[in-house]
Amino acid sequence: MLFTETMPIGERFLNSIAITILGMLVVFAVLIIIAYSLELLRIMFKDKNTIEKSVPEKKEPVKLVPVTQENVEDIDLILLITAAIAADEGSSTDDFFVRSIKPLAQKDTIWASAGRQQNMSKKM
């Protein structure tokens, strides 16, 4: 037993100081190891970060590729989307170009998509 009632107060005091020193050393040691490990983690991932920062992205000028039957899988789809945008914007299809069409991953739940489709069909 580290502390008994019969133990003189001086001895109890010294024991408690010893535990305090041990406790603070352990707390500091564990957290210092964590801190250094974090530095290590940072260095491990540093190269990638610095490369990303030091080399600014060069934006290549967008080349306009005429829409032809060869480079488009489904010309009907493009025509449909172009017409839909024009109808939504209230503008003409001559006012803009459709440069790319990328399918997006389904982010919403199936219920949200169903609800949105329902709203759209009500507007039409």
């Binding site: 037993m1 580290l2 603070m24 564990v30 210092i32 964590i34 974090l38």
Partner: protein, 386 residues
């Protein structure tokens, strides 16, 4: 017939709680009303003080037997089931609720500021000094080693850690220690600022810190796994707290378990908080609470908080000197945990000097390091006295 009526009335009156109430219970009921008042009107940590206050209220109602132990063995003749709160209390007694709360805390915590500025972790270590200084004080006042350790842990400013350690080392003191720990956590904005202002100069308080670097997802995912492995290997007794804290954090940072993360930080945490609060309050009965040592615990708890804050700010001052004025010492006080209240206090005191200074994210580093630090301290005390 009159005799039967009188006999029945006498028996009814004899079975009423009013007949059995003791002066100690009356005082405890008043204490519970004070806690309820502080929670509802003053909004002192209401999510915990309200269940604690009501648990205390329930447990001190005479003859209700909500904390009564079961009599006999289940399935055998003469078995009497224990009170409702007795069974719910097993989650505290067996050390189940505090780690579950820690899982929720982990799911709510962003360790990003700590990963971005690892040096700030040292401030979280310094602030644990309060635990050990008050431990010495409690030993000198005549408390046993395990009791003194449980009182000291109030300085960790971390309710679940304090309850976890006390339920294992000194269950009789659970009521006063939990009440003191949560009351002081609510009082952080009152206790800390005077100490912070006293120990720092105007110039130090005005330091604007550099913006933290962005932290990659890989670092955030590796961090909880690494810390769990490291702390559990050094201090196996801290594994339940740190392990669950980091599980919650991994649920958050992995990005693939959003539903589990939400459950850990909302529904599960709320359910466990109700059970924990009510049963911890219910341990405070007149025999264990109405003693001079309760006042000593409340006094020592305040000292623990103050010493922790002081040590954090002093190390902050040292870091200010060593870095040539890049660290604002005010973030040191956030090392006492009490997430995120202590970090908000650093922000508020810093803005008093310089309204355009935003210390909050810088203070969150030591703040969350303090949670790990107090869990480590608790693990160490448990391995010595457990």
């Amino acid at each position: 017939m009159l005799n039967t009526l009188l006999e029945g009335l006498k028996q009814f009156l004899g079975n009423m709680g009013f007949a059995a109430i003791t002066p100690g219970q009356v005082i405890m009921l008043i204490v519970s009303f004070i806690l309820l008042y502080l929670a509802i009107s003053k909004k002192f940590e209401p999510l915990l003080l309200l269940p604690i206050g009501f648990g205390m209220f329930l447990a001190n109602l005479p003859l209700a037997g909500l904390m009564a132990e079961p009599v006999g063995t289940l399935g055998q003749e003469g078995f009497q089931a224990g009170g409702l709160l007795y069974y719910l209390y097993l989650g505290v007694k067996l050390g189940i609720y505090p780690p579950l709360i820690f899982m929720g805390v982990g799911a709510m915590t962003d360790f990003g500021p700590l990963i971005a500025n690892p040096k700030s972790i040292l401030l979280g270590a310094a602030a644990q000094f309060g635990i050990f200084t008050v431990f010495i004080g409690a030993v000198l006042l005549g408390f046993t080693g395990p009791e003194a350790a449980s009182i000291g842990i109030i300085g960790g400013a971390d309710g679940p850690t304090a309850i976890f350690l006390t339920s294992k080392l000194a269950p009789d003191l659970l009521g006063p220690i939990a009440v003191a720990a949560y009351s002081y956590m609510a009082l952080v904005p009152i206790i800390q600022p005077p100490i912070m202002r006293l120990l720092t100069t105007k110039e130090e308080r005005s330091v604007v810190m550099e913006q933290l670097r962005p932290v990659s997802k890989k670092e955030k995912v590796i961090f909880p796994i690494f810390v769990t492995a490291l702390v559990s290997l050094i201090l196996p007794s801290a594994a339940p707290l740190v392990g669950m804290l980091m599980l919650g954090n991994l649920l958050r940072e992995s990005g693939v378990t959003e539903r589990l993360s939400k459950t850990a930080q909302n529904e599960l945490m709320n359910i466990v908080t109700i059970f924990l609060g009510v049963t911890v309050g219910a341990t405070a009965n007149a025999e264990t609470f109405l003693k001079p040592q309760t006042l000593m615990i409340i006094g020592l708890g305040l000292l623990a908080f103050s010493f922790g804050t002081t040590a954090g700010v002093l190390l902050g001052k040292l870091m200010y000197k060593l870095t040539g004025g890049k660290v604002n010492p005010l973030i040191g006080s956030a090392g006492v945990s009490a997430v995120p209240m202590a970090a908000r206090v650093s922000q508020t005191v810093g803005q008093e000097e310089n309204p355009s200074n935003f210390l909050l994210m810088h203070a969150m580093g030591p703040n969350v390091a303090g949670v790990i630090g107090s869990a480590v301290a608790a693990g160490l005390l448990l391995s010595i006295f457990g």
